[in-house]
């Protein structure tokens, strides 16, 4: 059981890194924003594994929720496309 959990964590980490790279690389700002929101979401799962439920909650609510929302609004307001 513990082993599976560890592999799952490894998968999540790889996923985070991939999302981070995608967020940096993509030309579409909205996708980048969504990707960075997903990083936070994945991070909050990782925090649960790391025995930090408080932080996990905060990260999910603030990092993945509010931050992403603020980003999305900004992207919309600035007609977001990267040159």
């Amino acid at each position: 059981m513990a082993e599976i959990l560890q592999y799952f964590m490894l998968f999540l980490i790889v996923l985070m890194l991939a999302l981070a790279l995608f967020a940096v690389k993509t030309k579409d700002l909205l996708s980048a924003v969504i990707a960075s929101g997903f990083i936070s979401l994945v991070a909050s799962i990782v925090y649960l594994y790391l025995q930090a439920p408080d932080v996990a909650m905060t990260e999910a609510a603030i990092g993945a929720g509010i931050t992403t929302l603020v980003f999305v609004i900004t992207v919309r307001k600035t007609k977001g496309k990267e040159k």
Partner: protein, 230 residues
């Protein structure tokens, strides 16, 4: 060119930092002040959630600063976006019936959930910040569902102010009655694992919850629309 230079120097810094973290053992027991927090946390605070004990009590001053930071961000943001005539309003299309119905049902529940989170901050995971942001997400849902939705800024900023004053005021009460700013022992600590326990922590977290909820809602509303009545 810039990319290569950037990667080069980032690699150098990264290697140094990696060499640092290679020396830090992962997953090994800790020492220092945390031992005190863990060992005596219940005795000194009666709050089950040690993180909350630390955040609100042992390092309550940090939290006061944290609240200030959020307040600052909300103030600064509305200051910067205030009178920005040039913003496009969102084209808020009429949302679907499903969303509206769901919002109607969910919004009170979300509020309740947020309130639950910050009231039980000393017992379960979560607290003022989490609860506040949950409430704010409820408000966001209202924005999504109703085209003409506007928050009442006066009410929000009054709540925000009062909650903030409560927090700092509780600190001053501690200074007056217990000779120490933000002292927890002004009222009795109560019993471990009960709702009314942990001294002033729930009260502070309730204030923080209201404040954060109001601030984040205001922040979202400031960003979504140019506020006209302001």
């Amino acid at each position: 060119m810039r990319k290569i230079v950037a990667i080069f120097f980032l690699t150098i810094v990264g290697l140094y930092m990696l060499s640092l973290f290679a020396q830090i053992p992962f997953g090994k027991p800790y020492k220092g002040v945390s031992e005190h927090y863990v060992e005596r946390g219940i005795v000194e605070n009666r709050g089950s959630n040690l993180v909350t004990s630390i955040v609100v009590n042992y390092r309550g001053f940090d939290t006061l600063g944290e609240v200030t930071v959020l307040f600052l961000a909300a103030t600064g943001l509305s200051f910067l976006l205030f009178s920005c005539k040039c913003l496009r309003e969102f084209k808020r299309i009429r949302s679907s019936l499903v969303l509206r119905t769901a919002t109607d049902t969910l919004f009170p529940l979300i509020l309740l959930f947020g309130a639950y989170i910050f009231i039980h901050g000393h017992l379960t995971p979560g607290g003022g910040f989490q609860g506040g942001s949950v409430i704010a997400s409820g408000v966001m849902l209202l924005f999504l569902a109703y085209r003409s939705f506007h928050v009442n800024h006066k009410a929000l900023s009054t709540i925000e102010s009062l909650a903030g004053i409560t927090f700092a005021g509780i600190g001053l009460v501690g200074l007056i009655y217990a000779k120490s700013f933000l002292a927890n022992s002004v009222i009795s600590l109560g019993q471990w694992n009960k709702l009314f326990s942990a001294g002033l922590i729930p009260f502070i977290y309730i204030a923080v919850g209201f404040k954060v909820g109001a601030e984040l809602s205001g922040l979202i509303s400031d960003m979504i629309s140019t506020t006209k009545e302001d």
